[in-house]
């Protein structure tokens, strides 16, 4: 799972917006009766493995913020949530949930290594929204339905994280708390 610096400001670039409605229609006509397998395919496992490492990296970033002095227990809860995501993905693909994505960790390390709760929350919100957008893109690519189930169950809670973090960051206007309807357009645009 890549969360490159250049992509983070623009969630649209992460989403890709590759699935135009017309393209979906042609694909739908071609395999309407085709049932997807439950288990992750070989390519699914490869993607999930990177996703697991990303979730572990994000969990460690929140843990870093707590260690730096942030006392709001919400950060510890979100850290635990991301660790659980990494562990659940690991269980799905039969790997050990131990190796974090060092690129993502080092990319955000300076932002999270701080006791400034509002500043960390603002960075964390951006990170959560990037995860949601990336996961939405993946949901349309998996061949097995078990990965679809798992990643969808993860991304809906990550979007809740983003609302909470916006509020902690002091950005409490309804528009900010609600975020964008853009995630839903990933399949339609």
């Amino acid at each position: 799972m890549d969360l490159p610096t250049a992509a983070l400001p623009s969630r649209r670039s992460l989403i890709g917006l590759a699935g135009a409605a017309g393209a979906i229609a042609s694909v739908a006509a071609g395999r309407a009766a085709q049932a997807s397998p439950n288990r992750p395919s070989e390519s699914d496992v490869e993607v999930l493995s990177r996703g697991m490492a990303a979730e572990l990296a994000v969990s460690d970033l929140y843990a870093l913020a707590v260690a730096a002095g942030i006392s709001d227990s919400t950060f510890a809860t979100i850290a635990a949530n991301h660790r659980a995501y990494g562990q659940e993905i690991a269980a799905t693909i039969g790997e050990s949930a131990q190796v974090r994505d060092e690129t993502i960790y080092s990319q955000f390390e300076a932002d999270f290594d701080s006791s400034d709760t509002a500043a960390v929350a603002a960075s964390a919100r951006v990170l959560e929204e990037a995860l949601v957008a990336t996961h939405l893109q993946l949901v349309g690519q998996f061949e097995g339905t078990d990965p679809v189930d798992l990643i969808t169950a993860i991304l809906v809670v990550e979007n809740r994280h983003a609302a909470v973090l916006a509020d902690i960051a002091g950005d409490s206007a309804p528009d900010s708390l609600l975020g964008s309807t853009e995630p839903a357009s990933a399949g339609a645009s």
Partner: protein, 282 residues
């Protein structure tokens, strides 16, 4: 040999037959049992195969034998969104919402209308006809009775806020549950995205009215969800993973025992799908 007398058999007493009456009964019983087993195992059985009914409950109506495809899931998702738009529009028009929620709900109406458009586009892309109405089953079986109960409530504003949060939660769960069922992977980000949006809508309503105390549910770490006056508190982050379980909504005035009315909101099932064969009536 002619003329030669045959040796005569010894006379047999009449009472010493080979089979007694008891034996006849026994053999008859065995024969009947074998016949019953043979009949039960035969392939030409007739008659009603339904289990016997006890009491006077009405006979369940069989579900319509309509096929379920991607269009049905997307039309059903759309119907849930339209249901929410209708409920919110009614509440806003009647001035029934508290000031802390009304502004956000106004914004939510716009957002749900966007989702209706996006899900309708996906329905067309999947080869179906977009559904423009609310979900009739939800309206008749849930919304109407809930609204009637809230009308008699000791705190309608509180109950309407909880209704809005519950509707957002059940809409998110609906889209989430349909995502894996779609046969065309390219359609899945659309429903998963709708789930993400509605999930965040619910969190926002909770934050706006509950503040930091309502960020995280204790249920995440195995704790009990606290209740005030018998009503479960709402939280922005309700569970570690998106939940497909039913949502408990407690509304209305307490009875003489202090008990309020509980409604359980579930994601749509076969009896509330918007099948391709259904025509809109709105």
């Amino acid at each position: 040999m002619p003329g030669r007398s045959q040796p005569r058999r010894a006379a047999t007493p009449v009472t010493s037959t080979r089979f007694g009456r008891r034996d006849a009964f026994r053999l008859g019983g065995i024969g009947l049992s074998v016949a019953a087993i043979a009949a039960a195992c035969g392939d030409d059985r007739g008659g009603d195969t339904a289990p016997g009914r006890v009491g006077y409950a009405p006979t369940p109506e069989p579900l319509p034998p309509f096929p379920v495809d991607d269009s049905v899931y997307l039309r059903t998702s759309t119907s849930v969104e339209v249901t929410i738009v209708d409920v919110y529009s009614e509440l806003l028009a009647g001035g029934e919402l508290g000031a802390d929620v009304a502004a956000a709900v106004t914004e939510l109406v716009t957002r749900h209308q966007v989702l209706v458009e996006q899900l309708s586009e996906l329905t067309s892309a999947a080869g179906g006809t977009p559904w423009p109405c609310a979900n009739p089953w939800m309206v008749d079986r849930l919304i109407a009775p809930i609204r009637a109960t809230i009308a008699e409530s000791d705190d309608p504003a509180r109950d309407l806020r909880n209704l809005a949060i519950s509707l957002e939660n059940v809409a998110a769960a609906t889209h989430q549950s349909f995502t894996r069922l779609l046969s065309v992977p390219e359609l899945r980000p659309g429903t998963a995205g709708a789930a993400a949006v509605d999930s965040r809508n619910a969190a926002t309503l909770v934050i706006l009215t509950g503040g930091p105390e309502a960020y995280v549910s204790p249920a995440i770490d195995g704790g009990e969800v606290p209740r005030v006056d018998g009503i479960p508190e709402q939280f922005a982050i309700t569970s570690r993973f998106g939940s497909l379980a039913q949502f408990e909504l407690v509304v209305g005035a307490p009875d003489e025992n202090g008990t309020r009315t509980t409604y359980l909101l579930n994601t749509p099932a076969e009896n509330s799908y918007i099948y391709n064969e259904l025509d809109p009536s709105c």
